[in-house]
């Protein structure tokens, strides 16, 4: 019996080495939210090099989605633009053609730096960071009564030439930069 135990531990150990990450249900939901954002936000046509070029969803920092983001985006198009996900490890890696950026950095200061570096570019920024909207971010996820809710800063989106549908705004808590987020 000890032998069996050792064997099974060994097998699990080997499998462990080839590990990769599926996300949690929370991020499965958030991935679908992100998919929905692409439907309810309008990008200026200048954001795309041609009508068939992809709408790029970037993840900066640790990727909490696992495969859920790909699941949500696969075979989907917005106005002819296929949806794709790219992962970035640092600010420098963010590509020019990135249209939506999910930021998951541990340090708030870095997040602020990213946001300011995207000034004037039509990138929809999304994060879970509690200070995100204060720093100029656009959409923030938060959890209330075990359910995922949204906070949106429409001013920031407007200044990036992005128009957010009223359908989305209606469901979110609107936060303008000067009001302290709660």
């Amino acid at each position: 019996m000890r032998l069996y135990l050792k064997i099974s531990l060994l097998i699990f150990g080997v499998l462990l080495l080839t590990a990769q990450t599926p996300g949690t249900r929370e991020y499965q939901l958030k991935a679908v939210f992100i998919f929905n954002f692409t439907q309810f936000v309008e990008w200026p046509s200048s954001s795309f090099s041609n009508p068939q070029s992809p709408l790029v969803i970037g993840i900066l920092g640790k990727d909490p989605f696992g495969n859920y983001l790909e699941d949500a985006l696969s075979n989907e198009k917005v106005n002819g633009h296929p949806l794709v996900a790219h992962r970035y490890n640092s600010i420098e890696e963010i590509e020019k053609d990135c249209n939506l950026l999910y930021i998951n950095l541990t340090e708030s200061a870095k997040t602020e730096k990213v946001i300011s570096s995207l000034k004037g570019v039509s990138v929809l920024t999304v994060s879970d960071d509690p200070n995100f909207l204060k720093q100029g971010g656009m959409i923030r996820f938060y959890t209330k009564e075990n359910k995922i809710q949204l906070q949106i800063n429409p001013e920031a989106a407007k200044s990036a030439n992005l128009s957010i549908s009223s359908k989305l705004l209606r469901l979110a808590e609107i936060v303008t930069p000067k009001t302290k987020s709660k």
Partner: protein
Amino acid sequence: MFGLYEFPPFVLLLFLSLFFIPLSTQAQEDTSYQAADLKKMSLEELMSIEVTSVSKKPEKLSEVASAIQVITQEDIRRSGATCVPEALRLAPNLQVAQLSASAWIISARGFNAAFSNKLLVMIDGRTVYSPLFAGVFWDVQNVLLEDVERIEVISGPGGTLWGANAVNGIINIITKSSKDTKGLYASAATGNFMKDFVSIRFGGKIDSTFSYRAFFQQQDYNNTTLVPNGNENHDQWGFVQGGFRTDWQASKSNALMLQGNLYESTQQTAPEKSITNGQNALARWTHDFSEKSSLTLQGYFDRTWRRDVPSTIKDQLETYDIDLQHRFALGKHHRIIWGAGYRFMQDKTENSTIYVGLIPANRDMNLYSGFLQYELSVFRNRIKFTIGGKVQDYTFSGSSFLPSARLAWTPNERHTLWTACSYAIRAPSRIDVDYYLPTFPLPPTIPHVEGGPNFTSEKVTACEIGYRVQPATNLSLSLAMFYNKYDDLYSVEALPGTQVYQIQNGTEGYSDGIEFSGRYQPFKRWKLRGGYTYFHKELRNKPNRTYDYSALGNDPQDQFLLQSILDLPWHFQADITARYAGSRPNPYIVDYFTFDARLAWIFRQFELSVVGQNLWQEKHTEYSTTYIPQKFYAKLTCRF
């Protein structure tokens, strides 16, 4: 000669009874949502989905201080299981043995016997073990597997929260809210053992607060064969069931759930068919006083009727049950759950021979209970200490106190070390107390059985220790070790100087074991889950007793399970579930290995699958004198 536990037909007795609200120690995250389903939802709907599946007391599986394992909807669907007992094979901490087309023996932590009786089984909060023998009639415990959200299997005692019979384990079958079963589902299958299978469910909503579903299913199974010659066993089994469920979110803080079921099960037995049927209805009201305080009130009625030809007993049982539960938090660190319940059971039997039967024929049984559990979390919830006790009063056992204490240490999200000590009882059942063989008087010089007038509850004191770890986000492992000390276990012995046998409490002993389980997803398309269980028990007679206690459980020492769920390109699925059960000592039953395989192709709303069960050999024996055959079926399912 008087080994009641060895009297197989008696197993096929009746159905139904006992306890609690799905107090769901909370399971792991529900993976039953498919990306496609979520994408169809509106933003409003997305914003109303709970991140963890039990909101009352959200607790990650990784933080629960007990040996809990969860079978998800996907695990069931991908295993090819056709009924609840087959789905329970997917819990590595359960011992499941098929006896005939319609009969199973299911236990946790040993004591696998025809009368396995130390397990508490609930379907949506309705207790389904029978007070007739304190075990479960598995041939009438079915649900529409498509609508199961998850099955929680806790090995080890849970008497404090769950009450009597939660000695060695708890099975909690939880169906989806009707909110999550909208649309039409229809499925039909045919095969060599499961001859036909038809099921249909329709669900919808009247408005955003009120949803409903109704279902119907029918299945027919073929004969097993007999050891050693492979002769037909004449045990064909048919099962028909219909039911409904409604969920109404009456207001922000009030929710009402109502469900009902009726079924009939028919077994081919000599000289005529055995028939069982039943109806049940359950209502549950949940009220949230605040985010930190909620109240649940639940009531159900359950009637079951059983004409079991081989056992020579007809039985009608009516159960009325009401339960109240209140949970609330005091500040950040203290949480309290308390509850009270009452159950009334009216059992009427008819003995069709004078050679064996229950006296008195009819019994009214009352069960009163109340419990209190306190949880303290300190050091930023890293240490959780839970202590609680239940007081219950039952017709056959009088008052009992069932305490437990649990401690969990979660140094970080990935590791939990837990330990628990508990005391639980298996209350006497009618066949412990009222069993007569024969039912007419005999002089004390002729051997006969005269019930168990002095039989008291079987008792366990259990110590457990466990470790749960998530080394990577796609891998979780769990290890639990236990030591159980049993006292006042069942025995049948002659009164001194006579041939008058009575059912007594002349056996004692201990058991120990290890349960190891895990889930692993090496790639997006490939999931693995499984486990290994080691079990060992030592029983002995109390001084001056002579009962052959081997009848109390014939348990394998080792048991393995491995389930592989694989998504292939072009919407194909290839799944394999392999299992091994070690040999059983007394009487000796050879060990077996076998596996089930499922190949499915999904085309839009349609799913075509081919399933083979027990493929390793043509036939094998799991417990007694029947061969369980290789089974094949093809199934077409559509979901609109």
